[in-house]
Amino acid sequence: MIHDRCLNNLENEDLEIRFLLEAIFLKYGYDFRDYSKAHMKRRIMHRLSLSELNSISQMQHQVLYDRVFLETLLNDFSINVTEMFRDPPFYKTFRQEVVPVLKTYPFIKVWHAGCSSGEEVYSMAILLKEEGLYERTQIYATDFNVEVLEKAQQAIYPIDDIKDYTYNYQKSGGLTSFADYYIARYDSVILDHTLKKKIIFADHNLVTDGVFGEMHVIICRNVLIYFNKELQNKVFKLFYESLRNGGFLGVGTKESLRFSDYMEKFDTISENLKIYQKKFEA
């Protein structure tokens, strides 16, 4: 029989993580139980190593009694690595393949799910503006993390990132100079405030909240990779139900409908860049 420390520890840690996530769900309603296990374990062990706590079980106690510690964990669990015009070819293809269809609509509803600190929402706003569509667009930018939503609303970003963003913008088929869209002050930039005009920022949790409108476009990039397969399917269902016939879905370049239950319900606009179109239902 194997009863060595490593395997025994792993088994116990898995149990402790289940209890911790269950505790967070029961107490606060945030549901991380169907997130990728490997990912959650990394995030939890990382927090444990930074804290004074000795075990995941202690962490469970802490989170039940300390709302501030919950906020810390929520920040740990939501990965807020993003950039403007991330994966420039995605935006280029969006301009070429999706925009011509959008131009045929009198108004356009865009849902950016899991928008984090907003860099990609503003990228889309710039793109739609340049294509003459922004005035008839409503963008809903949502995230479960209220702290990053506030950052998104401020639209203030470190000036050090602007070089990369300018490069991305140019590669994405941008029509003017990226410098037209921000004002630099000290070590930050603030984006042109007119970009915010058609954006509504709202607290929405993909795991626990439902459909809230009929969308022409849903963008959700590098969020699904942190979910397990069952939860990915559940969210694809939510997106499917939230899209009108012929509506577009854009996910991260390494995310795919391919291993999901919803592949047949979409046409593929770009397999490489993961842009899909909901099929017309009879």
Binding site: A38, I79, I225, K254
Partner: protein, 197 residues
């Protein structure tokens, strides 16, 4: 049960080292191989294409929630961490760089150690940093098999040296012999890994 997976970490000089190892493996190599090679975040998938062309085993970039299958080599995509879930599905992540690296070898190795425990082989190759040593230590603690490229045969010796310093590795092997060593171990032990139950 035998070995169920191999993980490889490489950095500076890794492209050539991976070619030398992978090209001696047969097409129907019976376990999946997962690779974290440090690479510029702006790269395309040329490394996968190159290795796939010169090797008999199939080589591709890992895809999200794909099952890690035998006879297939999975490379971490540039700018993504590669992790394995306990059910053998692949997860990608864009969380912060670990020791300046994304993909990080430690991230791959630690998740694989948890997924495969003793049924895992971990290999650290050439590189000019110390990524992979923490992960290799974890593999060893979970009773997996550890192999490090002999630093004298490495283009950059810091990474193999750090790995050797971090844990008592099972094999320190010249680059040109690692492929054959894998063939021997997998042939001898796969399906017949006795001695621990």
């Amino acid at each position: 049960m035998g070995y169920r997976a191999i993980v490889i970490g490489s950095s500076t000089g890794g492209m050539e080292a991976l070619r030398i190892i992978l090209e001696v493996l047969p097409k129907d190599f019976p376990v999946p191989i997962l690779v974290a090679q440090h690479i510029s975040s702006h790269s395309d998938n040329y490394l996968a294409k190159f290795l796939d062309n010169v090797c008999k085993v199939s080589v591709k970039e890992a895809e999200e929630k794909e099952k890690a299958s035998p006879g297939q080599v999975y490379l971490a995509p540039p700018n993504y961490h590669l992790l394995v879930e306990q059910d053998g599905l692949i997860s990608l992540s864009v969380e912060a760089r670990v020791s300046y690296a994304r993909p990080s070898i430690d991230v791959l190795f630690e998740s694989a150690a948890e997924a495969y425990n003793r049924d895992l082989i971990g290999i650290v190759l050439t590189g000019a940093n110390s990524d992979g040593s923490r992960g290799l230590k974890k593999i060893k603690e979970c009773h997996g098999l550890t192999i490090v490229q002999d630093p004298n045969t490495a283009l950059a010796e810091a990474m193999p040296r750090a790995a050797i310093g971090a844990t008592k590795v099972d094999y320190i092997t010249p680059l040109t012999e690692i492929g054959q060593l894998l063939n021997k171990i997998i042939k001898g032990k796969s399906g017949d890994k006795s001695g621990y139950e």
